[in-house]
Amino acid sequence: MKKRLFKISALVLILSLIFSFGVFAEGTKQYVYDPVYLLTDSEYAELNTQAAEISEKYGCAVHFVITDDPSVNYDNIQVYSEDMYLESPALGYGDGKDGVMLVLGTYDRCYWLLAYGDKGNYAFTDYGKDWMSKHFVDKFGNDDWYGGFKVFIEDCDYILGEAEKGKPVDIYYEETDVGVEGYGIALVAGIIIAFIVCGIFKSQMKTANIATNAKSYFNRSAVEITNRYNRLLHTTVTRTEISDDDNDGSSSRGGTTVNSRGFSGKGGRF
């Protein structure tokens, strides 16, 4: 029953996409789908225009779709998104349907970010998708829908631009960041170590100091401990989630992982 509902829901959205494609066919092609009306008219118009410009500029469609369908959840949003992308002629650019699409399920507060086609999968590497999602997840988490989509479109512009230069955003970007940050960390560490070492050298210049203890004037074996008392008062427990970087390392190899249907993707919750 659930599966059936899910298929019907996907079909309804596909039909609405086809319909809306027709409606917008004469003007700007529709790249943004917001049947839930999370965006105001002006926000919607602005984002759609930006998405259209970027898509045309790079020959790779930039879409985002919002759905409040209760049957769409964290477990099935990937299949839902891929089905929709393949079945809707309004999605993707050109014959190869090159594109990137962010699908937001507001009911289960989950998302799926997919890329398709040679251009899409080349530009949107696994690392690139991770990098993008870090930016928009925080905004969606705070229900800043406009902010989240805005940053998504801007990131798409940057990623496609880098790919066009022949250097898609990938793991080596992190290495570059680590390099710059690494030298920053090394500089701070260098200054701290220099302070410590010079402090030790300087302390050797001043050895005449007032004594504050009498350690040389008692016999350790003569010390008598008459009372040892340890009482547990309370305990505190803190749980820290192990980050994806520590845990899987999926994006540490670089490149793009493409599934048998030709998609690469990344999902999560917000």
Binding site: G182, A186, Q204, A208, S216, N219, E224, L232, T236
Partner: protein, 373 residues
Amino acid sequence: MATQVTNYQCPACTGPLHFVGESGLLECDYCQSRYAVEEIDKEYAAKNKKAEENFEKEQQKKDKEQSWWDMSGLNSHWGEDGAKMKAYSCPSCAAEIICDDTTAATSCPYCGNPSIVPGQFGGVLKPDYVLPFKLSHEDAKKALKDYYKGKKFLPKEFTAKNKISELKGVYVPFWLFSCKADVDVEFDATSVTTHREGNYNVTTTAHYDVRRSGTVPFENIPVDASKNMPDAHMDAVEPFDYSQLKPFSMSYLPGYLAERYGQSAEESVERAETRAINTAVEQMYEDASISFSGCSVRNKNVKLERGKVHYALLPVYMLTTKYNNQNYIFAMNGQTGKFVGNLPVSKSKYWTYFLGIAASVTAVLGTAIMLFL
């Protein structure tokens, strides 16, 4: 004027005797004869007694005169210093030796003979112990040179132009305090354990109320009783090996300077007690902190069971050097050779080292991060 000063003279040739730390004997500069301390003690027991009596008489006479006559105008040109000075007649050359009122052993500036003022250590002023010098003046000079070695920030000119302007071996008066500390300390302590549960790191912090009580006995905590010696230098040359303490004898003094105490035991007690209290609390902390990840003192209560106070003369070499019109004072433990003092810091050397280290660490660490991360 009856003499209050004694010159220790060689029984063989009447040349001046001085105590030599390395041999532990009194040696004659002229005929190289050597005498045990006890031997000379016997020889000079009567003379010293006589000198002590003369010192006492002179003191009483002075007190009496001062109670009858107002003599303040006579030495007003000396100012306050005048009241702190004493004049003695050298038994060898009859020259007048003027020194500090606490000076107990010195040398005549005219004939150079070691001179002892037995009265300074007479009666209640007599020290319980003396720790004889083990090291020589030459050892002290060598120690100063060694002390400069490895000092990265020492200005080059300091070692090049630096000359010892004064080197003296001094028997410094010390009070030795013995006591027992009864200590109760309360701590806030924590014990932290971490384990992994699925996708989470779980950190459990246990908070404890910890208490430790005990007793810590202290023996002979030294506090210098000299008003002339810098406290920091005297503290820093510690510790002394008390196993070599000898019952006090004047015979250890010839060849060195010596002072009687200028600060009473009552005035010095606070420094000893502070040191005992700090160490007693530290002992409880050491015992408590072994079992915990973190431990901080919440409350402490230390009661001191005050014990015996001894008065001892301990051997210290004092060295003074001059650099850029400033005096630099160093001290060396005359028994163990421990050398202390404050040296000038070259700002240019400091910053050269600082930048060199910072740049090297940055380069090495930065490259390592680039290569391995």
